[in-house]
Amino acid sequence: MAIQHLFHCTPIKAKMWLPPLVKAYALVVAFGPSFASADTYHLDISEQSVQLIGKAQQAVVANRGLPAPTLYWREGEQVNLQVTNHLQEQTSIHWHGIVLPYQMDGVPGISFDGIAPGQTFTYQFEVKQSGTYWYHGHSGMQEQQGLFGAIVIAPRHQHQTADRDYVVMLSDWPEADPHRTLARLKKQNDYYNFQKRTLGDFFADIGRLGFWETLSDRLAWGEMRMEPTDLADVTGATYRFLINGRTPDMQGRYLFKPGEKLRLRFINAAAMTHFDVRIPGLKMRVIAADGQPVAPVDVEEFRIAVAETYDVLVEPQTEQAYAIFAEAMDRSGYAHASLTPREDWLAPIPTKRPMTLLTMEDMGGGHGGHERHGQSGAEATHAIHGERLLPEKQEGQHTGHGEAAAVSGDNHAGHDAEPNVEQQVHSGHASSAPMDASEPSVPSHALLSYQQLKSEQPEHSLMGAPNREITLRLTGNMNRYIWSFDDIKYSDAEPVRVKLGERVRFHYVNETMMNHPIHIHGLWQYLENGNGMYNPKKHVINVKPGQTATVDVLADAEGEWAFHCHLLYHMDTGMFRKLIVEKAGYVLH
């Protein structure tokens, strides 16, 4: 298996974003010591000037790269990672999704003291898993400032083979210093929302829905003092969205030869952005979620929450450039790279889609009569896809694909995620036909949902009743930009304590209008999605607005773990807990 994780890029562009030295270093890291069986890795954390938004900015990086070098480990390897802090402030590295002794987990104030300026900390642990993970800073805002990289762990026994294997690392890069971003949110929580409803939208809605209906909708939202366009706190108004550290302008490229099978390891390393990912014209076969193999599912598109990873297989048959297109969930921007058979071919940028409004259902209010916005996120698009799997003859309507918006206007009033969805489905069908024929056993879906994730390996201890159930409400005060669990901020909260060996069932009840990707360090969360002992295990569970997610946690690792929403500014403003797993009769604090 050839592992190729570096971007192929034109020399000028390369100079613009990474000095040649860095490329050389990255090569060494990729193909030198780390990929060989040697097991000592060095990461130097420093400040570095980057050019991502047209002016020089300071980033916090590892080994002078943004993203940091991909670390290639092997299952069963004893890794030894020496992290040296060249900053003026404390730093730390957290190995996201990795099961390890808690002292090696890298969360200052919980699992260790952090790495002081000038110091080197050595992380040592045995790698007991395989798959796609990542690592990132857990001090201050360093993760948002560029301190993140991918981890690819080769399994002891190979499951899936691919001709090429690429890391596709998504992230968001801010225009302002992240501390200032947080300060702005504290002072004006809708600072970055430039998609609010205007007077014009009010009249447009009257035209569509009638006066009273529109008025009652506005009054319902007004009464709650909330905005249905509030899908993301920090948006494309300040963010550039990156794939492997590159903006769409920097034209990242992944090479392939037609007929090859490619494994794309998607990692959402963004601080605040959920992405909707698609590769127009290609069907994606999802084979792993959060590093863990799942029963294959063919999809046109998937949503990747902050900190999740998904591995997909694609098999482009034709000699053409395909877009890897990751739209921010609120549609305020996108990341784009090309999957291309030739260095000089770039994929066109697909038509962007309008945003989906939140509904009263998202608020958990269950007020009837508001379905007109379509249901939020996944279901909405799913439904649309469903009704739009039309015969090929429909294609005729869409001559001039670019102006597809005009087509949908009449028949589909009310549905927000429209026209080019259709395009996707069609083109997807055309090219994926051979795949369907050869492997009919894999069901095909327009959009991946959590319901479809089914673990490859059974976990027998999931059967029977859990030892304990804990309901955790995901709460917040959007107006003041305070986030919390059970209305208590981290600084005011007691740790959550569970006993070693317990199976604890958490019910995450999302009482807010935002998505919250909930992450537990050091322990797996088995998502209760109806597959029994085949429920998938994940390190991050995204909980949608107004919904409840149930997970089982096998408390099989003693120690003090971080337990938080992975949206950086939510974590920083209080949506965080310490989770203590302790032996009976032994109290940690």
Partner: protein, 241 residues
């Protein structure tokens, strides 16, 4: 210096002052050990809601309405000042400074208590109790009751709303009401509504923090001696950091 530069300069000043403010420990909430996350941070918010010229053929005034808070989510120290200055006559109209302790009491509301020093037209010292926050339907509310040294009770209520014409062009109606509980002979204050102000401002947010505006105010003043009402054009800037 462009507006952005000015804002940046103010911001850097603020960030330089912040460690100092933290060090002073003037509120019992300052110190927090080094954690992975620090959800008890101190922020400070300066907001000049109105800095404007207001006038008609008889009247030329410069008015300000400025608020500044510093604190964490629950406890804040709040300074408010407003007033006007007539360049023609070189006199200040209503001008005061309030210093308040503010406590978050509900999702959308702060309770405030403190003192007011009025400078013009007359120097007084009042106790202040008020509520500030966001009412349903996005109505910004700032209310206060003033109790003077002599036991006179006065009140002030202002309501604001923002209507988006576009994402940056915003129409902001505003109403302010000043009331007195009883006649105050020596000040010429008449019980009831002493001043009523209704205005409409159209602002353009070049940056969120910097928005020039135009508009008008209708003002009615009622005292024991006289009754005025007038319509005035306004032009000014709203800025914050």
């Amino acid at each position: 210096m462009s507006s952005t530069d000015a804002i940046l300069a103010l911001l850097s000043l603020r960030s330089r002052l912040k460690p100092l403010l933290r060090g002073l420990g003037w509120l019992p909430l300052l110190f927090n050990a080094v954690h992975a996350q620090d959800d008890d941070m101190i922020f400070s918010h300066f907001k000049a809601e109105r800095l404007e010229y207001e006038g008609n053929e008889n009247l030329h005034l410069f008015k300000w309405d400025v608020q500044h808070w510093i604190g964490n989510d629950d406890h804040k120290l709040w300074l408010k000042t407003e007033g006007d200055y007539s360049a023609d006559q070189d006199i200040f109209g209503r001008a005061d400074l309030q210093m308040l302790y503010s406590r978050n009491i509900d999702t959308f509301w702060d309770f405030q208590i403190g003192a007011r020093r009025a400078f013009e037209p007359e120097r007084t010292f009042d106790a202040v109790i008020g509520f500030q926050g966001l009412a349903p339907y996005f109505i910004e509310v700032d209310s206060a009751m003033f109790i003077s040294e002599n036991g006179n009770v006065l009140g002030r209520l202002s309501l604001g709303y923002e209507l988006l014409l576009t994402q940056r062009l915003i129409l902001a109606p505003r109403v302010e009401l000043n009331v007195a509980a009883e006649d105050i002979q020596y000040r010429g204050v008449k019980a009831g509504v002493t001043e009523f102000e209704a205005g409409l401002r159209l602002r353009y947010e070049i940056e969120r923090e910097f928005a020039p505006y135009i508009g008008f105010d209708y003002v009615e003043e009622e005292s024991l001696r006289e009754h005025h009402h007038s319509l005035r054009a306004v032009m000014g800037v709203r800025l914050w950091y």
